[in-house]
Amino acid sequence: MSELPTSWCGQSVERVEDAALLTGRGRFIDDLGVKPGTLHAAILRSPHAHAKILAIDTDAARQLPGVAAVLTADDIMAMSASLVVGVKAPIECWPIATGRVRYVGEPVAVVVAASRYVAEDALDLIAVDYEPLPAIVDPLAALDPAQPVLHDGLGGNIASERSFRYGEPERAFAESARRVSVTIHYPRNSCTPIETYGLVAEYDASEDAYDVLANFMGPFSLHAVMARALKVPGNRLRLRTPPDSGGSFGVKQGLFPYIVLMAVAARATGRPVKWIEDRLEHLAASVSATNRVTTLRAAVDADGRVRALDWDQVEDVGAHIRAPEPATLYRMHGNLNGAYDIQNMMVRNRVVLTNKAPTGLNRGFGGPQVYYALERLMQRIAIELDLDPVDVIRTNLIPSGAFPYRTATGATLDSGDYPLAFETALRDGGFAELRARQAQARAQGRLYGIGCTAAVEPSVSNMGYITTVLTPEERRKAGPKNGAQATATVALDPLGSVSVHVASVPQGQGHRTVLAQIVADALGLKPSDIRVITELDTARDAWSIASGNYSSRFAAAVGGAAHLAAGKIKAKLASIAAAQLNVAANAIEFVGGRARAQGNPDNSVAFSRLAATSHWSPSLVPEENHALRETVFWSPPELAPPTDEDGINSSLCHGFIFDFCGVEIDRVTGAVRIDKYVTMHDCGRILHPGMVAGQITGGFAHAVGAALYEEYAYGADGSFLTGTFADYLVPTAMEIPSPVILHIETPSPYTPLGAKGVGEGNCMSTPVCLANAVADALGVAAIDLPLTPAKLGIHIHPAEHAPAAQPAPAKTSKGRALHGSGQAQAAAAPADVWRMLLDPRTLEAIIPGCHGVEKISDTHFRADVTLGVGPVTGRYRADIKLSDLDAPRAVTLSGIVTGALGDAQGAGRITLSPADNGGTLLTYDYEAEIGGKVASIGGRLLGGAAKVVIGQFFAALARHSGGPASPGLLARLFGRRA
């Protein structure tokens, strides 16, 4: 027993989670069985970025055998209320499109059926009439009141605007020697967990209560939003989480609107409803980080010392302000100075709405956007003042001994020694060698750059920081919001073994292992003696609004609460042991599975026997000392609400990061290769080195993806261009090098164990560190992510000549414009051909890939078609109207084609003239605009495909009327239909 370590914390013990996960016995949401009779949901989603919904015809879908219900906005609105919106603005936020779609992927209808396969079949049978509206994609354009408005109540697209001033920024700008500024456009990306969203919802009509099992990750403040939307008190929305969840990185926060949607579906059908999101839905419509346009100005002394910062941030939250947005913009508000001693600050924050998917939590949450601007600025200061970038950082770092440090905007940086960490990283990471390597590479004519970044990594969010978006007066009216309630329960059972429960809702971070270490340390046991449960049930377990797994709060807050709860149990057990061992309670120590008198190890009692006492022999224990179960709620007093001067301690802990890297850019391809990456972390006390390393390498990989490969890209018309993993490029082992990881440890004075968060830092520091290196390699000032070869190529290669001849279809505001013309011969007379053109049965036979034509009126048809363009084949709905009829001589066909892969609008004029042989000569010309994903296909391919499809139509018409058609074409048509 004496061989046992003095502390389990600090050791990389093997994880208790792993054996089940490695043998296929994990218990993820889709691994758990469902009740007999459970129905499965599928969601019809908008193909348009912005359109009015004129009508939804669900009759055919309802009649499909196996379909229980088809729900549209009317059904959902009848049984729920809008989700609460976090800013004071007259706008609503529903989990389904109400009257209008505002982004590609927005839910339009929900089918609930006997199986997912049948539910998806039924989606194809729903007909939606859309009237497309102009879309707004660029956040700066959204500032313009003349642009299309997404939410009529707002009178524009700015949902929130606030300005802040701290210290004396005007004076600093007036007095300082230099002013340096950067403007950056931070793109959208997402950490895309490999397990998608999933849930099973039930409704009990007899108690008007919902029960939902979902791989939701919190924050559980959203439980209140969901309960309100479902119009029930909190105790009638029982929310449970499965034992395992396949990654989240913030993203599974965005599940909550679907919880409301499917809870209503369960109520409408009277049956449990299960929904597992698929990857295409996930990419289009789960959650992404915000994209942001920032202009950041600095007032700088000649030696590079920054006297003041002036932030202008335009935050794009997409089509709805979905809770907790605009939190991304305010999460970093307390530490907008980064790692630097800057006491004068101006901030202008605007939140705009655009026709993109709503945003939400995503690893780094606001940090990547802020540090990209700040650390690009620090490099620009060095270049513009002809200083060494390393010296500019050194000059501005908050000095050693200045902690706790009060920032201009109201945060208290708890602990650290930034200069020590910085100098240690330069030395141990081999910065001088890297410089030499760069010099050598450059001497050989290679494009080699070095980047540096210092960052402060906030963790344990103050639940009140988001109220900084409100004015002090609005806050006074609403009442103060603050704190970060963490909770843990430690329980003893009648055999004296120890159980722990927390509301931390992990998605792979090993919480069970670390909690066992923490509680084992407190009680003198082994981690294997402790059983930890982390699934949450809001009806039975201790939880609060801050519960959940975000803002890197586990080690600092939840681990701390478990330590405190174990301490309470221990104190009670000590008093029971004191009576049994005849010594004072403060002379009892817990070692090696026994409680013993200090200095007299033979006077001891087994822990299990002691721990069982209050169950079996309560008479031996004074009532106040019954040691059975202790639940601790812990909220740090440092997390106060915003002050009347808008000062906000937005986070409890602040880790420090200093990164540097060397990258080489291939002169031919423009590809970036990371040659070396060094990342120094001070995350306070380290509880499990292996897991801390895993958080760093994992965050680093997300950051490399964001820096070099990943972007949620939208076309100018709002079409979503990265809807598969073949378009949204998640890096693999080929792209992610292993970083050099360094540490110093300065424990936080504000957390029970001295630990701070560590999981998000590299998502903040690494993208800009790589960008600084790329900017250094290329000698460019303005550089935005992702740093794709196509983007970098223009800095390496001279401008390319446009290809001569064969003009490709032009890109228009909508997408791609196509036009063309042709002729065909039909054997029948013009009057017969005319009849055929107006007959749905003929059209069905001659439209290429047609599954059916429905006649709405004499001049209005609707068709279902399957079209293939290059490698992309998809199903589309065509809405065709005839106009300018001049029977039997000419007609104009205009139509809209929509499908998951894109849409097209166009018109063509067909002229029929009598031919010499008694037949008809058909002449046609057409113009069309193509949008959506299909529009991203090369223009020539698209033009060619359109020509073929339209040619096929007329050839089929000719054939149908008994005219000649080329055998090759016939064979092709026959081949297509077989």
């Binding site: 994880r15 296929g24 990654g247 990857r279 390498t697 993993f725 073949a726 292993s738």
Partner: protein, 169 residues
């Protein structure tokens, strides 16, 4: 291959982790859904259903394959191994699984089954892979938690142990 009709369920039989299994499937049913929801073998996970992420990788007739791009009826008569078949017996882990645990080569564990299946097949035919070999081979898998570094360490370690004492599975 027997003639199948779209509106009928067909009997599908194959060997799964050494045992004969059978159940009915519509021709369009994916092998992932068949394994998970018809046979109750939920260790094989679904991450993208378009063949990119690799989470659903299983071994079909000795070769790694994407179960999400395979129809259940295609597996009729095949010999299939999934993650449930890797451990030598309950309560024990294979050399590769042990290495994953030792090196913290998994966090959420969702992509892990596919990676294990690929590596298990690969290491049997490549006894001494370099880190570069493994990076290239693992390029067929997406992991969002680990950053791949600990996975590579685990794979190299497992390869070494298997060379020293080749007791597979």
């Amino acid at each position: 291959m027997p003639r199948l009709s779209a509106d009928r369920r067909h009997r599908v039989r194959f060997t799964l982790n050494g045992r004969a299994v059978e159940a009915d499937a519509e021709p369009r049913m994916l092998l992932t859904d068949f394994l998970r929801h018809e046979l109750g073998q939920t260790g094989t996970h679904v991450g993208c259903e378009h063949g990119v992420c690799g989470a659903c990788t299983i071994e079909i007739d000795g070769m790694p394959a994407r179960a999400c791009l395979t129809l259940a009826v295609q597996a009729d008569g095949a010999t299939i191994r999934t993650v449930e078949g890797l451990a030598p017996r309950p309560g024990r882990l294979s050399v590769l699984q042990e290495a994953f645990r030792r090196h913290h080569a998994l966090q959420c564990g969702f992509c892990t089954a596919g990676i294990l299946m690929s590596l298990d097949t690969y290491l049997r035919s490549h006894a001494a892979p370099s880190e570069t070999d493994l990076r290239e081979f693992l390029g067929g898998h997406l992991c969002r938690c680990t950053g791949y570094t600990p996975i590579l360490a685990a794979a190299l370690d497992a390869a070494k142990l298997l060379r020293e004492a080749p007791v597979h599975a």
